[in-house]
């Protein structure tokens, strides 16, 4: 099962691996190796050499993020490591798979990351609705504590790590790393201005690394088997494997760990079974709600960061949302913008006031009350909500499906306006 490090050991019944089962599959070997034979910098170097990029959506090189943590003698000695388990990007369900199926894998990844940046306190920031992951993580944490894999003097190495599981109280924006920090500090989940970045000033002003669950789950395997091995798993420039997914009217919605760079068509046809009978593909969002639509002409693209970016979209979370020909594209975009408008934290005007306005125009168009110049207005608003115009990336994310829908499904929008009805209704 060397080709599927993240999911190869998952039990068929999807129950969580116990500590014993995880260790039998090679679990915690990496942590033992690191604590006995590697320096913190060695671990960071291995992760940098591996080419691992963040799996939460932004794709930032993980080793580089860790290397920004000040480690000199003048730096604050208190540092934090946080696993971002606030998975709420619409269409995304890959972290749930990892949390429920192999919580020890995450704990080991967190311990290694904490060791690398010399953090002695770590948090899992887990969304409240994920009740099964909460139970399984708590149990795995207790097992790890009993076995001396967490807590004081881990495995007799002198390295100590207190690990806490924090469950949230809702809101999508808490998945944004600086809003997450504010939520953890007991405040409203409003993002922070960057710089300073969390690696320098994060939780309670201390150096903090926030990484996605899938990102951290890769770390034990990289430390255990090496950077070259990790690179060899990929079919393209990016390294490792990726948990891809598909939802919508495909024959077999699901999630599958595959080599990074697997083409879209292969994921859709071989793993998701193609479209349901009687349905044709019209487009897809490759990596969650905040990515641009791709269409038929893009299906042979490798699902890696650079290829999808060159096509005008983003890999994001890598879980695809598929639009079929019996579903109204205007309705789909209205649903997406309703989500983004609702989840605005309310801090900055373009987002707080712009998104509900966009939603209201789309609602009118969908219901046959659209006006001729509505499309021009939506285009202008999408351009206004660009990176750098808003306090965080939330509204720019909302602009992505909107601007790409106006590009690829313009005739559908025009029909709604001209015919004063939704051609898909009734």
């Amino acid at each position: 099962m060397a080709d599927l490090p993240l999911t190869g050991h998952l039990r068929p019944d999807r129950q969580a691996l116990t500590l014993r089962e995880y260790e039998r599959a090679g679990g915690y070997q990496a942590l033992r190796k690191a604590l006995r034979t590697l320096t913190p910098r060695d671990v960071t170097q291995a992760v940098s050499d591996s080419g691992l990029r963040g799996r939460g959506g932004a794709g930032f090189p993980t080793g580089k993020k860790w290397s920004f943590v000040p480690m000199d003698e003048h730096a604050p000695s208190t540092r934090y490591l946080i696993a971002n388990a606030d998975e709420m990007e619409p269409g995304t369900f890959k972290d749930r798979l990892l949390l429920e199926g192999n919580p020890h894998q995450l704990l080991e990844g967190m311990a290694l990351a904490a060791y690398a940046v010399q953090a002695h306190v770590a948090y899992v920031f887990l969304r409240r609705e994920y009740t099964v992951p909460a139970q399984r993580l708590a149990r795995a944490r207790a097992e790890a504590l009993s076995a001396g894999l967490l807590g004081q003097d881990v495995l007799g190495s002198g390295f100590s790590l207190d690990l806490h599981i924090h469950t949230s109280a809702g809101r999508y924006i808490c998945g944004e790393e600086t809003a997450l920090l504010n939520a953890l500090e007991g405040r409203r989940g409003i993002p922070r201005a960057k710089p300073p970045f969390p690696q320098v000033s994060g939780l309670w002003g201390r150096p903090t690394v926030v990484n996605n669950v899938e990102t951290l789950c890769n770390v034990p395997h990289i430390v255990d088997r090496g950077a070259q091995w990790f690179r060899s798993l990929s079919r393209s420039k990016d390294a490792g494997t990726k948990i891809y997914g598909a939802s919508g009217k495909v024959a077999r919605p699901g999630a599958w760990e595959l080599p990074m760079g697997t083409p879209i068509r292969e994921i859709l046809e071989e793993h998701a079974g193609g479209m349901r009978s009687g349905h044709r593909l019209r487009g897809l969002l490759p990596g969650g709600a905040s990515t641009d639509f791709l269409v038929e002409e893009h299906l042979d693209l490798p699902m890696d960061f650079d290829s999808i970016s060159a096509a005008g979209s983003r890999l994001g979370t890598g879980t695809m949302i598929v639009l079929d020909d019996k579903t109204c594209p205007v309705g789909m975009v209205r649903n997406l913008e309703h989500f983004f408008a609702q989840e605005s934290c309310g801090w900055c005007t373009p987002c707080r006031d712009g998104l509900p306005w966009i939603e209201s125009i789309l609602d009118d168009i969908e219901k046959g009350r659209g006006e001729e110049d509505d499309l021009e207005l939506l285009q202008r608003q999408a351009r206004m909500l660009a990176p750098g115009h808003t306090y965080c990336a939330h509204a720019p994310g909302a602009a992505e499906p909107l601007q790409s829908a106006l590009r690829y499904f313009r005739t559908d929008f025009e029909r709604h306006i001209r015919e004063r009805r939704c051609p898909w209704s009734g």
Binding site: M88, R96, W204, S247, K249
Partner: protein, 154 residues
Amino acid sequence: MLTAEERREIEEELPHYRDRQSLTIEALKIVQRHRGWISDEALADVASFLEVSAEDLEGVATFYNLLFRRPVGRHVVLVCDSVSCWIMGCDGLRDRLVREHGMRFGATDEQGRFTLLPVPCLGACDRAPALQIDDDLHGNVDGGSLGALLEPYR
């Protein structure tokens, strides 16, 4: 007044965080678990216990959609209304819950049994449409079998 049990549970969380103020969300969740919702009085009691202002605490309580500042029924039904569940028919599900099972969208039913609320993506998109009742996730929900699904929740 916070009960001794509530105070104890909140205090137990303190070592995990840097200060009392960081406990606001935890404390509100604990009180909500005991009482179902967070009244003005409960809010003031928590604020006083954590040594924060009630105004700041209200700001926190009203930011997070899973903290309830109004009474809820014995069970809270969260219907995912994000894009994958929308494609797979969550609107129809919600309509049936209202029309056929006496629920009120955004409110509590007459018997005080169910409160029906929308929720963003539950992370069960391969089992859409999905909904969560209290702590239980239900995927691949079939509109015709809602009665059986709701039955155990008295």
